[in-house]
Amino acid sequence: MRPVFLLIILISFPFIGCLAEKSLIDQYNEFAIRAAKEGLWREAAFRWERIIQIDPRNAKAHNNLAVAYEAMGRLDEAEKHYKLALELDPDNKAIQENYLRFKRSQRRREGAGEKGSG
């Protein structure tokens, strides 16, 4: 009986470590999402920037930060983070959809710019 429990504990160790880090990231992400839903994009962006500092390969954080930057009108930075999110998680439908919509509104802006100058 004892070896089985010992095995459980041994297997669980790496996951517990992972859970602790994930939990911090999740806390930041949850807080940021709540802030974003209240329209506090600056606060939300700050949290997602922190997540990226902890885990630079976190596609979700890159996507969420891109949305925050887009809402704040920082469009170049938004595009950069959308692209990074897509690189890290190319099959994620939500990221694909966000990027598609971002590009569509960018095209509308550019089209109007050309018309305005022409």
Binding site: L7, I8, S12, N98, R109, A112
Partner: protein, 232 residues
């Protein structure tokens, strides 16, 4: 006990891996939408709108032009001639639908007013009254059960259809034009319907602002709400 231990052995890694696998959260972001034309480039004047049907007296056209003028004034950086000045300059002149379609006439009008472009168009204002039925359940003390009864009421719907355009003074041709419409419904019984036909005026302001706001979205930069997904 051993079985529980084995289950735990399988479950712990699964829970750990699945941790945080939440869905997507919908949020709205404000996206700036540019206009199709830059009307701030022009010195503008709003001309009274003309009735599409000749039997209309055209009284509403001036009111619609006034509402249009009021909405245009909200555009940042716009250079708009005052309605009084337009009226004074065009005193004695009678605008017709044919003039709106004639580039040379429009060039002349823009010249007279001293503007680069004019905002004008045609309108059609009408209403339709239709009977509608709805069914209610009423308890009948005689029959001692619920009975369904049909109640007839009338829906009077006002419609305003605008054809608006910005006509450039250089070529006398529209740089942008479109059809915009709005409607407003009110319920009536037979008595109030008859009275409204005699006494009521159409809710022109409500109708005009509804249609004009669609036009404004095309000629002035504005913000729209767009959906994005935040990931958990």
């Amino acid at each position: 006990m051993r079985r529980v231990a084995v289950r735990l052995l399988i479950l712990i890694p699964l829970i750990a891996l699945g941790w945080g696998c939440g869905g997507a959260e919908k949020v709205w972001v404000r996206v700036s939408v540019p206009s199709e034309v830059d009307i701030t480039r022009y010195r503008l004047a709003v001309l009274p709108l003309l009735p599409l049907r000749d039997e209309d007296d055209g009284e509403a056209g001036e009111s619609i032009a006034y509402f249009l003028q009021r909405e245009l004034r909200k555009v940042k950086g716009i250079d708009l001639l005052s309605p009084a000045e337009v009226k004074r300059t065009l005193e004695g002149e009678r605008l017709t639908k044919e003039m709106l379609e004639s580039p040379s006439e429009m060039i002349d009008i823009c010249g007279e007013l001293g503007v680069d472009a004019v905002v004008t168009g045609t309108y059609r204002l009408y209403h339709v009254a239709e009977p509608r039925r709805y069914y209610v359940d009423r308890y009948s003390p005689i029959l001692r059960r619920y009975v369904t009864e049909a109640v007839t009421y009338y829906v009077k719907t006002y419609y305003l259809k605008l054809h608006l355009m910005v006509i450039e003074g250089e070529k006398g041709e529209p740089v942008i034009e479109g059809d915009f419409e709005s409607s407003y419904s009110e319920p009536h019984n037979l008595g109030t319907l008859v009275l409204s036909e005699v006494a009521d005026k159409p809710p022109l302001q409500k109708l005009a602002l509804g249609a004009i706001s669609q036009f404004m979205m095309r000629i002035a930069p504005h913000y729209e709400r767009e959906e994005r997904f935040l990931l958990r």
